[in-house]
């Protein structure tokens, strides 16, 4: 069953992306071609196969809970688009 342009718009909303009206058909068509490509996985018997999230099945190490560096706020905020008094600026959230 092909995914509709409304479905694609719903996914785009989850991903915080906008799709212009004149592009939606093209985006939907390509999206469906990729879904067709990955659909063949459904034919493979994976009964009882443990999903693999790390190629060596490694556990992630934890670091000792200790201060190892000082964060330079000014240097980090130099790359921010809008900053004031050490705060990141965003549009008004609550009226």
């Amino acid at each position: 069953m092909a995914t509709t342009s409304a479905d694609v718009r719903a996914v785009a909303q989850l991903a915080q992306l906008r799709i212009e009206d004149d592009a939606i058909d093209d985006v939907t068509e390509r999206f469906n071609r990729i879904l067709d490509l990955v659909a063949e996985l459904q034919q493979i018997d994976t009964q009882g196969v443990e999903p693999m999230s790390n190629p060596h099945d490694m556990e992630q190490r934890l670091r000792p809970d200790a201060v190892t560096e000082q964060v330079d706020r000014t240097a980090l905020q130099d790359v921010a688009p809008a900053v004031e008094d050490g705060f990141f600026l965003v549009p008004r959230v609550i009226d």
Partner: protein, 492 residues
Amino acid sequence: MAPSELSAATAVALSAALRAKTLSSYELTQACLATIAKDNPALNAVITVSEEQALADAARADDILARGDGGPLTGIPLLHKDIFCTRGVTTTCASRMLENFVPPYDATVVTRLREAGTVMLGKTNMDEFAMGSSTETSRFGVTRNPWDTTRVPGGSSGGAAAAVAAGFAPLGTGTDTGGSIRQPASLCGITGLKPTYGRVSRLGIVAFASSLDQAGPMTRTAEDAALMLQVMSGVDPMDSTSADIEVPDFRGQLGDSIAGLRIGIPRQYFSADLDPRVAQSVHAALQELQREGAQLVDIELPHTDRGIPTYYIIAPAEASANLSRYDGVRFGHRCDAPADPQDLYERSRTEGFGDEVKRRILVGTYALSAGFYDAYFKKAQQVRRLISQDFSRAFQSCDVIAGPAAPGVAFGLGTKTSDPLAMYLEDIYTLSVNLAGLPGMSIPAGRVDGLPVGLQLIGRAFDEATLLRVAHRFQMNTEHHLATPSSAGEPT
């Protein structure tokens, strides 16, 4: 060394000249910068040149060399793929999203290579966020293949591959999530190695798919790759997925014989997708290895053709999560005059990302969304294990796997951009290796119609040393790796 010889020289040869004082790092760096200034406009392989810093680093390297100190890479110029964070030097990932991003810190790979005395000349072009196999999705325009400028260099590390092939620098860094070091290395006729997942720290590498991404060397020879990998490898407390496993002396083992080594040839890597002329070059290379005493063994990797669908769920899913950080608030592109937070996020992301990146975010978001997670993401992770088990089984009867790195030679610019699926096929022989987390390498193995062909070598986890040994042995007995685009027309 004459200036014309510099551009084809290896790091090993250049290092010898630096130590013999027949060349200074400053002169070498100037020569590389001059080559970039002359030839980059035609190739667009380099998108940022850090000339002032490079010359200062070179002068510092000369001081170290004058004292008789330093290591084998002291004073050697290199180019970093523009995915590695470089403090004070723009790091764009070839995206509008990061067009003006100047990182406040260095990637661990950048730190380690700098501490080894290398001289960074600048940053190389790539597919946007490393998503592509042709370097055509870059915000800063396509990179052209130095062997034929009407063709692509491969991708996503296409800028690095083109730059090393064109003699801009002997060394480049690349990253490989599904083939992004090996396929461009194959298409540009250079040596490229993707290490085992966990061998090299990912700290400071702009994240694409975190369970697949690895950084590796792009060089003219296996010996240079060994030197670079030595410096790049090792556990990093700042990357919890970097492996706490001993790093062997890669260069020290290069000279060992390959007699008796079992090389597995997967039947599935010579299917109808492969250009028969590429197959011929690969077979000739395998015969050369046989002459050196290696045994060729037929093996099966039955899930090879499942690699593409598996990868095109897992990589976009991980990418959609990683790229959710770009919200127009802390760094990266921000839209003009956002009306409210929703408008800020949506417009900043929609303006900042290119089409292929958006396409993968959509697919990934879909595969992870409620109701589809089990059918797509979990299913792909299960097939990933089957692919990994194929390799484990194969390595019971062989020590190394060999085959083509890409299904063909460099293709024409624009010929695959309209069909994402045709582009995805470029990585059919490489992306299973990322899914299994294994080391893989591409080395030049001849030419078809004057265009380079790559031989891929795949090893057991953390056994880069054997790949390098096989590659070095091959390069000692053949001259494919010595061919350069400028010498291509000359009789050999």
